[in-house]
């Protein structure tokens, strides 16, 4: 499981997508989403947005 930059919301803030082990995006979240924060705290960094 990893996260990537997915899009921006109506306030211009970054929205992230969680990419599950099967490659499917089932969750999109804001930067303050607790599981995303925990993932960052483990030293991970989100992948960049798709071109």
């Amino acid at each position: 499981m990893t996260y990537k930059v997915f899009n921006t919301n109506s306030a211009g803030e970054t929205i992230y997508a969680r990419i599950d082990d099967d490659g499917v995006i089932r969750v999109t979240c804001s930067a303050d989403h607790p599981p995303f924060q925990e993932w960052l705290a483990e030293g991970n960094e989100p992948l960049p947005a798709d071109d």
């Binding site: 997915f6 899009n7 919301n9 109506s10 306030a11 803030e13 929205i15 997508a17 599950d20 499917v24 995006i25 089932r26 969750v27 999109t28 979240c29 804001s30 303050d32 989403h33 607790p34 599981p35 995303f36």
Partner: protein, 387 residues
């Protein structure tokens, strides 16, 4: 004034029923225990204690990963430090529930794992502070509570669990005995309120956590029947469910109430219980070609829609869950149905609703209204505000 000292009151023509009073002053009316404290209704601090509501998984099994509360049926999580040692599932094994119940939560061991000292495997529920503050724990007025449930296991012996504070600085390990395998056994455990420690009180944080252990190492276990510092999940020497491949542990009729008496399980209406669950998790799955929510087109490819929540959530959600398949979703505008080319994604949320983006390749007109629909029966949107 005078006091009538009797232990029972019955009609002269009957030999059972009536009113009985035990040596602690607890009253039973026609065989039904009356509360020793608190109100007559809304007594149960456990939500979905009869395991009816399963918005997330609709009865499918969930294998529990390590180090994260992972939800099975609504409000009930699995928690452990070693992945994939057990699963949780509504009505696992399809046994007959105890009388008066239609569902249960089933844990199944997925291997024969030898628990080491630091291991813990449990199922449990976190209770919101707003719903637990009346117990007054952490104060001199801390009230006694009673935990009751029905349990069914392929194993026999002494089992363990614990009730813990939000910061896991205080814990009360409890034990109970299952004497007959594969038989529903009623359990009641009375717990004196904790007069010390840090308990969050009336907030939307965790008021208390209740765990039923499925295996705990010595470091994670304590002595039953007393408050301790730290966070043991079980009692020393308790039965390990995860230690036997295929072992089962089923539970239902869970009630945690103020008072020293286990009163009958409080059956609530389905709508009431669902609404209580939706404060923590809300899922819309309308079926094929039905409506999620309404919105407007921001440009030629994006529709911004708003989904109101039926219940004020505990906290503003920070994520949106979907099926993961873009083509499960579509946008209706004018007389056109356009299949999405990306999964719907989160914009922002509040406790009362969430904005979502639906995206198509082209064709929308900025400023026009659109309807966000399901293209298949698999399509869903869900938000979590779990503790």
């Amino acid at each position: 004034m005078s006091t009538l000292k009797v232990t029972s009151i019955q009609n002269p023509s009957t030999s059972s029923g009536g009113v009985s009073i035990d040596t602690s002053g607890h009253v039973t009316v026609d065989g039904v225990a009356m509360p020793s404290s608190g109100p007559l209704s809304n007594r149960n601090k456990i939500i979905n204690g009869d395991m009816r509501i399963d918005q997330r998984n609709a009865g499918a099994a969930v294998t529990i990963p390590a180090n994260a509360y992972t939800y099975s049926i609504d409000r009930w999580f699995g928690f452990c430090n070693q992945p994939s040692k057990f699963s949780l599932q509504q009505n696992a094994g399809a046994v007959t529930p105890p009388v008066g119940h239609s569902n249960y939560l089933g844990a199944t061991s997925l291997s024969a794992y030898a628990v080491i000292s630091t291991d813990y495997f449990a199922l449990g529920q976190a209770i919101e502070g707003f719903n637990f503050a009346d117990a007054s724990w952490g104060t001199a007025d801390a009230k006694t509570v009673t935990l009751s449930f029905q349990v069914y296991s392929s194993l026999t012996g002494t089992f363990g669990g614990a009730i813990q504070s939000s910061n896991q600085g205080r814990s009360y390990p409890f034990s109970y005995t299952v004497s007959s395998a594969n038989t529903w056994t009623p359990i009641a455990i009375t717990i004196a309120g904790d007069t010390t420690g840090t308990w969050v009180g009336a907030t939307n944080g965790i008021g208390a956590r209740v765990f039923w252990s499925l295996g705990s190492g010595s470091v994670q276990s304590g002595t039953a029947g007393a408050w301790v510092s730290g966070a043991p999940y079980s009692v020393t020497g308790a039965t390990s469910v995860v230690g036997t491949n295929g072992a089962t542990f089923y539970i239902t009729g869970v009630q945690l109430e103020v008072g020293s008496v286990a009163t009958p399980f409080e059956h609530r209406s389905y709508g009431d219980e669902l609404a209580r669950c939706q404060r923590y998790y809300y899922k819309i799955q309308p079926g094929q070609y039905d409506t999620f929510c309404l919105g407007y087109n921001r440009n030629t490819t994006l529709c911004q829609a708003f989904a109101p929540f039926p219940v004020t959530m505990r906290a503003a959600p920070t994520a949106l869950e979907t099926s993961g398949t873009a083509s499960d979703y579509r946008i209706l505008y004018l007389i056109t149905a356009a299949t999405c080319n990306a999964v719907p994604f989160f914009d922002h949320g509040s406790t009362t609703g969430s904005d979502i983006y639906f995206q198509v390749a082209s064709g929308l007109t900025a400023g026009q209204g659109s309807k966000a629909n399901s293209n298949t029966a698999d399509a869903y949107l869900a938000w979590s505000a779990e503790l």
